[in-house]
Every structure is written in structure tokens, then in C-alpha cells.
């Protein structure tokens, strides 16, 4: 039976202890360092300053502002005519050295035409070297949403989309890929902290024999474990949010309604895995050693290869299929879907199902190991 006061006492004690344990504290700051590294890499690889957007919009409607919002602080340059925009990007997408990341042609009387159901054509030019996949996918959606706002519910416009510098078969590293992959890698690593934190908190009680004091106190074993998990979960979520704040500056946030539950499911999976490690091992060194090993395989591979980078590198190869055996693949997959704002209900359900099943299985294993461990500990 759980007791809130005792759980909070345990969580509070562990939180103070973590802050006072220099080794653990420094370890837990690592994801923040990753965030700073990300910003550094952004500057290093992007090699650009302000993103310029070239727009012809004689009515100066809100559509220009809304579409430009896919960029962080864009500089909007208004063209005198639609021909100027077309010329800048090339009528046959031939120009590859334009200074503009995106071009937009909005016809005169756009909103009125939409209301009259004339299906006005909006033309968008996008430079794949300057816009990430998610940005390129977001723009048509924004245009549709805007138009839907004018006349609802039938989509009243046709968007003619053209991409210059389309991605080639051979992969070239650029900032847009970094923008997509890095947030997922960083978030997966922030979840990884549970593999380090929960076993450390649990095993130290065994190593220092303080667990005996807890065993003669009114706190139940469940209180102890839940209190420790609460600290790890709190840290994890705080860290993920902070990290997301850092890495999402260049990107749109994506589908938050999807992102948050999957971050929680991911946290749950790593917490139960950490709990299992903490119950099985008697020394912190052994648990963190195994945790690091598991972390490398279970986190790094799916985090990097589950998304668009993986599609470029692996395609439908056997390795890509093998990757799906790892339960953490489904966290990474869901995070990519959420970040890229994709509409993939089938995949989302599969990801959620696999993660829930893993959490239940790991928790059952951990409970079994805990009971066994509790008996052994009392006999030591």
C-alpha cells in the first residue's frame, strides 16, 4: 500500500542527495551540454544568418506572415510582381543559388477569390537546402489551414508546390537534417537518464545499508520505489522540457498533443527498465555499466535511424527491419511523427501499443525482482 507523505519524503530526500552528489549531478547535466553542442553545431553547419523569404502578395494579407512563421525570425522581402518571384527561383526550378529559402506568390484578391470558391492558386518555392523536411511539410498545411479559415469546410484552394534543390539519393549532411534528428536524439538521451538515475538511487540504499533503516520504518517497499521513480520522472520531464526549449528554437514544435504522451510513455519505459536494473544489481558500477551498454544500443540506434536520416541511409534494408525489434525504436518513431507533425494514426497506435506492453512487462519483472531482492537484503 502506498502512502503519499512517505513517498514525498523519499523523493525530497533523494532530490537533495542528488544535488549534493557531485558525480551524479554532473552526469545529469550532460543532456544540457548536448543542447549547447546542438546550438554550436547549428551555427557551424548552417552557415547562414537571417532566413530570407521572397513574397509577392499585393494585398499584404496575413497569409505571408503565417507561412513565414515556419522560420525563426525570417526577413520577408516583398516582390513587385509574381514574375520576379518566379524568376528568382527559375520557372523550371533551375536556379539553385537563390538567397531566399522560400518564395511565395499570392494572387491579387486572394481572400475574396477563396470566398467565391474560385480556387485561387498559391505558388510556393522551397529550397531543400534551407528548409527541413518538417518545414517543407508544414507550409502546405499552413496554407490549407489559412484558406479553411476563410471558407470552411471544403478546401477552397489548390496549392502548387515546387521544391528546388530536391534531396538527392546520396546523403549530404546539412543543418535541416540536424534540425530533425538532433531533437529526437537529445530527447531520447534525456530519457536515458532514468537508466542511470533510478538504479543509482536504489542501489546506493543497498550499498550503504540505509535500506535497513527504511525497512524498520513505516515506509513500505512500494513507497520507497515510487518515491525514487518520482524523482527520476520529475528530473526527466524537466530536462526534456528544458532540452526541447533549446533544440526547438530552429524548428516548429510539431504535434505537442502527440509529443507529450509519448515522452511520458518513453519515460515510463526507461523508468521501469532502470527499476529492473536497480533491483537486479547490487553495485552501482555494475548497474550503470550495463545501463550504458543497453543505452548505446537501445537509444542511439533508434534515435538516429528511426527518422528521415534512417530512411535515407537504410531505406527498406534488413537492418532497418531489425531495428524495429528494439522497443526503443517505437519511442523514436513516435517522436519523429510528432515532431514532423505527420498524420500516421496506424503507426502511432502501433508505437503506443508496443510501449505500453513493454512498460507492463518490465514493471512485472521489476516487481518480481524486487520481492526477491527484499528477501535477500533482509538476510544479508
Amino acid at each position: 500500500m502506498m502512502h503519499t507523505r512517505r513517498i514525498l519524503a523519499m523523493a525530497c530526500k533523494d532530490a537533495i542527495d542528488i544535488v549534493k552528489n557531485k558525480q551524479t549531478f554532473i552526469g545529469l547535466l550532460t543532456p544540457f551540454v548536448m543542447g549547447i553542442v546542438f546550438i554550436f553545431l547549428q551555427v557551424l553547419f548552417s552557415g547562414r544568418g537571417i532566413t530570407q523569404v521572397y513574397i509577392y502578395d499585393p494585398d499584404h494579407s496575413n497569409i505571408s506572415t503565417i507561412v513565414s512563421s515556419v522560420f525563426d525570425k525570417p526577413e520577408i522581402v516583398y516582390a513587385r510582381s509574381a514574375v520576379d518571384v518566379t524568376a528568382e527561383f527559375g520557372s523550371d526550378r533551375a536556379r539553385t543559388n537563390t538567397p531566399y529559402a522560400m518564395g511565395l506568390i499570392v494572387p491579387a484578391g486572394f481572400e475574396e477569390s477563396v470566398r467565391q470558391g474560385q480556387h485561387p492558386q498559391v505558388t510556393v518555392y522551397m529550397d531543400a537546402n534551407r528548409m527541413s523536411i518538417s518545414q517543407r511539410q508544414t507550409v502546405p498545411g499552413l496554407l490549407m489551414d489559412y484558406a479553411n479559415g476563410v471558407v470552411h469546410p471544403v478546401p477552397p484552394i489548390t496549392v502548387k508546390q515546387a521544391t528546388i534543390n530536391p534531396p538527392t539519393e546520396s546523403y549530404t549532411f546539412d543543418a535541416s537534417t540536424l534540425n530533425t534528428v538532433y531533437p529526437v536524439v537529445a530527447m531520447m538521451f534525456s530519457l536515458y537518464s532514468a537508466l542511470f538515475l533510478v538504479p543509482t538511487l536504489l542501489i546506493e540504499e543497498k550499498e550503504k545499508k540505509t535500506i535497513r533503516t527504511l525497512m524498520v520504518s513505516p515506509a513500505s517497499f512500494t513507497d520507497i520505489v515510487v518515491g525514487k521513480s518520482l524523482v527520476a520522472l520529475g528530473y526527466q520531464l524537466l530536462l526534456t522540457l528544458a532540452l526541447f526549449g533549446i533544440v526547438a528554437t530552429e524548428e516548429r514544435v510539431g504535434n505537442i498533443a502527440l509529443l507529450v504522451p509519448f515522452l511520458l510513455l518513453g519515460s515510463g519505459m526507461y523508468l521501469t527498465l532502470g527499476l529492473l536494473l536497480g533491483c537486479i544489481f547490487k553495485t552501482t558500477t555494475a548497474a550503470t555499466g550495463v545501463g550504458s551498454g543497453i543505452g548505446s544500443v537501445l537509444i542511439l540506434l533508434p534515435a538516429v535511424l528511426a527518422g528521415p536520416f534512417g530512411q535515407l541511409v537504410l531505406g527498406n534494408s534488413a537492418l532497418g527491419q531489425v531495428l524495429k525489434v528494439l522497443p526503443t525504436y517505437y519511442i523514436a518513431d513516435a517522436l519523429y511523427i510528432a515532431l514532423l507533425n505527420q498524420s500516421q494514426p496506424g503507426r502511432v497506435l502501433l508505437d503506443a501499443g508496443v510501449l505500453c506492453a513493454c512498460i507492463v512487462a518490465l514493471f512485472a519483472l521489476a516487481v518480481w525482482a524486487l520481492r526477491r531482492q527484499a528477501t535477500v537484503m533482509a538476510e544479508i
Binding site: 507523505r5 514525498l8 523519499m10 530526500k13 537533495i16 550503504k208 540505509t210 535497513r212 533503516t213 520504518s217
Partner: protein
Amino acid sequence: MNNPELMIEAHNLRRVFGKKEAVAGISFEVRRGEIFGFLGPNGAGKTTTIRLLTGQIDPSAGDALVAGCDIVRERQQLKEQIGVVFEEQNLYERLSARDNLEFSCGLYGIARSRVDEVLELVGLRDRSKETVQSFSNGMRQRLMIARALLHRPQMLFLDEPGRGLDPIAAGSIRRSIRQLSQEGMTVLLTTHLMEEADQLCQRVAFVADGHIVALDTPRALKLAHGKRTLTVTLADPEVEQNGRQSLEDATLSMDDPADQARLLQWMQQGWIRAIHSAEGSLEDVFLQVAGVQLV
């Protein structure tokens, strides 16, 4: 069972680990307000008995009431009634003394104002903000006692309280235990230090190989099992007449008729300068009763 005058009633307690019988059917009672000592060498079963009585492990057989609570069926109530000071110094080293105690307050649901009271009691109030890492062994031991007293338990278990302490620190701990007893606390302590038991305990139980081999007050045990001897200091009057002093000690058994006759003869001759009675030590008694050395 459940005599209100008794704080512990143990009946035929047994605990088996694999093939080893750590506690082999012990029965004893501890009275309310008493300091009771469990004495024996390492591995005799003292600590296992404490773990049984504090509800950390289940007995393989037998039963016991501690503070009126069954050690198996009423474990949760039992935990509220007892305080335990462990053999190993298991404190949260990176936390301050105050943080350690405030954590226990949270577990027991006690107001934090109690922390200052127990720190005052063990003389650590001035050091309450320092981390345990900076504490000496004696200070740590005192902090563990403070932690065990925080929730005002009826019964205090002390597992080897004097282990690893210098004589001054050990003396300080003993004074604290005596003071607690005077205030009505019941104390059960385990030790392999006979001097500690002799100074502190009103009754002691000798434990060897999981059995209680003797149980009584230290004085009664010494009188019952110790060697009843007299050390007699003698002077030879003939030698002393020549201006020289000649003294020598002789040890006589009070139970040996020949020694009794010799003592009478020396008294009549006026040779005796001093007589000292010598009780056996608890250590001697343990050796005699259990047939093994304490350490």
C-alpha cells in the same frame, strides 16, 4: 501472552538460512524499562534475533510480541513502537544531520520541531547543519540514536553500540543509554563487550550457536558461575622481626576445605595483612557456561 509489564515476550524463536540455524529456538522476556543485554561472540545469532524482533525478517518458527505487537502479523504497528540503531553506521552521508532527521520525520509523520529536541538530547544541535561525512564515529553513533528516538518509541534496539568507538565516545554513548533507561525507555542491546554489558545491563542473556545458554543479572551470573576466591596478602613475622618487610599474595578458594583451614591458620598466626574477595568476570562466566571465548 501480552503481559503489559513485559516489552518483549519471545517463545521458541527460530530462524534458518539454508542449512544454517542462526537462531535455534530462543525464549526470553524483557521487562518494561529494563536494559537487557544480548551477549555472545560474532555469529552467535544476536543480530538475527534483533532482525526477527524488529520485523525485518520472518521467523522460521516460534512467535514473539514486542511492545504488544506480533512481530509477523502486526509488523506495521510494531514499526511505530520501536527504534533501531544498527551495527553499521547507515546514515545518508552527503546530507546534514538535520536533513537525515527531517527525512525520518517525513517517514513517521512527525513535526520537524522534534528534530531539535533529539539533537539536543544527543548533544549534536550545534553541528546539525554539517554533513554526516564530516562526523566522527562517535557523533555518527549519537546521530543514529537520535534518529531511532525521533518518533518516541517504547523500545530501543541497539546492535553493538560500542563497536569501533574510542573509550570516551563509548562512555558518552553508555551515559546516553543509561539516561534513556532512567526516563522509562526499554533497551535491548547486543554486544560482545562484557565490560559494556556489565556496566549497562540489568539482565543479560548469553547467546552461543543460536541458543540462550544463560540468562540472569550480571551479578547473579558472576556469583553463580564465577570462581569464589580470596586474595590474601601475607607477611612472615619472623622475617619482619629482623627489620625487613616480606609480603606475598596467596589465592584461596572459598569452596575448598583445605584452603579454608589454611586461612584460619594464617589468621591465628597473625600473618594476614589484607584480604580481597575476587568475583569472576562475565567473560570468565561466558567461557565457563558456553565453552567458547567471546571474541
